[in-house]
Amino acid sequence: MERVDVITGTTAAAIGVKLSNVEVIAAYPITPQSECVEMLAKFIADGEFDAEYIKVESEHSAMAACIGASATGVRTFTATAAQGLALMHEMLYIASGMRLPIVMLNTNRALSAPINIWCDHQDSVTERDTGWIQIYAQNNQETLDSIIQAYKIAEDEDVLLPVMVCIDGFILTHTVEPVYIPDERKVRDYLGIYEPKHAYLDPDRPITQGPVGVPECYMETRKQINDAIERAKEVIKRVNEEYYQLFNRRYGNGLVEGYNLENADTVLVAMGSVCETIRYVIDRLKKKGKNIGLLRIRTFRPFPKEEIKEMLEGAENIGVLDRNISFGLNMGALGTEIMATLRDKKICNYIVGLGGRDITPRNIEEIVKHLEESKDVETKWIGLKE
């Protein structure tokens, strides 16, 4: 039976993993993710969840063990953040290159130095080219739902790529919200058991996985990954609808979610929990007669170019919020990509909330004001100390 619990984002993710019938977990603790893997360990210790749990000695090994397990044909999970994700970097490419449907929770956290355990998106944005699908959830409910959806997407024959569910460190990981917990049987029926059809390690059917990719074939493997992540767009949209039919919740079209976009000349574009703050500000400004829109990017990879073009067609002032910075370009990743997608628009890029700096409603209002007054493309850092 569906029930409501008041829980943190990490707990929501752990419950999602349990509901998804994951068979092998390999993980290493790091703030602000640790509660997730602690919960999973406790579920197993209490006999509520029958997964194999490998207490690896590093995140590099966590991803390596997930790769080994997934290549043997079972459903796998790991969770990490920041330094842990950076340590996995090499293996991220191997997971996607071997087309393994691994699912990972990344609790977004700033990268050292200086060491900082608080939220920004630098860690996962840095991994955008690794061939992983990236879903940015905006609240704890979406975190749980996205984990379940992630398996459906990753294991789809048209996709077969790993998925990273990204949630804002502390803002979601350590804040409780009411979350609908779907019925366990219903989720299990929906996902089924993971049974790979093509490549898996089995003495009864010996195959070679991970051979040398000579120049005659390597480039094709890249194209295949690129095609698969492109196809993932349709799969993500379909899964979003299926999920709605079964569990009564959906997130825009799965790739993007618009808010108050009709008749809005000024539109903000953002990812993650800040979208809830933006919505709050939009509602407030509406009462004052101002019409501001929001385009939330839910999947940074695959990047929803078509939707962005379509939904921002009428917008005149576009402000992109980035919780990351590309040093030497003075822009964030989302800003750069929106600009590449909408070449004729005036787009300002706002660098916000690095290393846990709060993004307040007042900051959002400041952005709106700047955006409306600005004459040209510009990057502005918001919330810096004087």
Binding site: I54, H60, S61, A64, G68, A71, G210, P211, V212
Partner: protein, 297 residues
């Protein structure tokens, strides 16, 4: 030997290994001992490269390669996945051996942490370190398993250098310090001893670690037809003693009637050609001391 171990070859001929490569000999023997119910894990290195240039493969058993430093971790994941699959009823009443076959670089250096983690966690794996005493795949750079005074491309002999300036890291004893049920050393020149050890390792529950010395024509500098002879000399001189540690019990498995002088072994290899008789004397003393420690007079 012919009677107890199958004729069937699970590593196909026609791979790209050098003529006389000790690594391929090792794999053929290890797979004969393990049989078909095996999953092999390789790390980046000679063996992986010469057996699998896509679309060819020499492996007749399931095989996986991911990266250089994670053989132990990949094997851990596979072992647990098999456990999970058994819960679903797959591989009923079968013992599937998960066998990382990893180079000295992938074991003693960059993959040391992943190995230690896998041993410490008690995974049921048979970890074979194939030791050619350097990073052969990338051009004979030194590893921590390169022996004292051997010349390697990052520890070259020269006017002010005798080559590698540190003694060989003792991986078997380090593995044994993890308290695992089975540790052994072996050499491809002693096939029966090697295969018996692999077979035992497959049968024992829990982690097993076998350190196998594997002469390499390119890195050591000798003629391909001498591979087996060089391996024999490594053992007969006491440079590489053969033993096993089963549930904590140490046992020498091959005792040379009389140890040969180390010089015979050294003088066959170009990587040592810069050494004077006095240098070899230093090495001889070092070998004598280690043999004494192991009870191999």
């Amino acid at each position: 030997m012919g009677k107890r171990f199958p004729r069937e070859e699970l590593l196909a001929p026609g791979h790209r290994g050098c003529a006389g490569c000790g690594a391929s000999i090792l794999v053929r023997m290890a797979l004969k001992a393990a049989g078909r119910d095996v999953i092999v894990v390789n790390s980046t290195g000679c063996l992986e490269v010469f057996t699998t240039p896509y679309p060819e493969t020499a492996w007749r058993v399931p095989w996986i390669h991911t990266a250089f430093e994670c053989g132990g971790a990949v094997a851990s994941g596979i072992e647990r996945a098999i456990k999970a699959l058994k819960k679903r009823g797959k591989f009923k009443d079968r013992k599937i051996t998960v066998m990382p076959i990893i180079g000295d670089g992938g074991t003693a250096d960059i993959g040391f942490q992943a190995l230690s983690g896998a041993l410490e966690r008690g995974h049921d794996i048979v970890y074979i370190m194939y030791d050619n005493e350097a990073y052969m795949n990338t051009g004979v750079q030194r590893s921590s398993a390169t022996p004292l005074f051997a010349s390697a491309t990052t520890a070259p002999a020269g006017k002010r250098s005798k080559g590698e300036d540190r003694p060989k890291k003792d991986m078997a004893m380090i593995a044994a310090a993890h308290g695992i049920p089975y540790v052994a050393t072996a050499c491809i020149s002693y096939p029966e001893d090697l295969m018996k050890k692999v077979k035992k390792a497959c049968e024992i529950e829990g982690p097993a670690f076998i350190h196998v010395l594997q002469p390499c024509t390119v890195g050591w500098g000798y003629n391909p037809e001498d591979t087996i002879k060089i391996g024999r000399l490594a053992v007969e001189t006491g440079f590489f003693p053969l033993y096993e540690i089963e549930h904590g019990e140490f046992r020498i498995t091959y005792r040379p009637a009389k140890r040969k002088p180390l010089k015979e072994y050294i003088r066959m290899q170009k990587r040592y050609r810069h050494l004077t008789d006095e240098d070899i004397e230093i090495l001889q003393k070092y070998v004598d001391e280690r043999c004494k420690l192991l009870g191999l007079e």
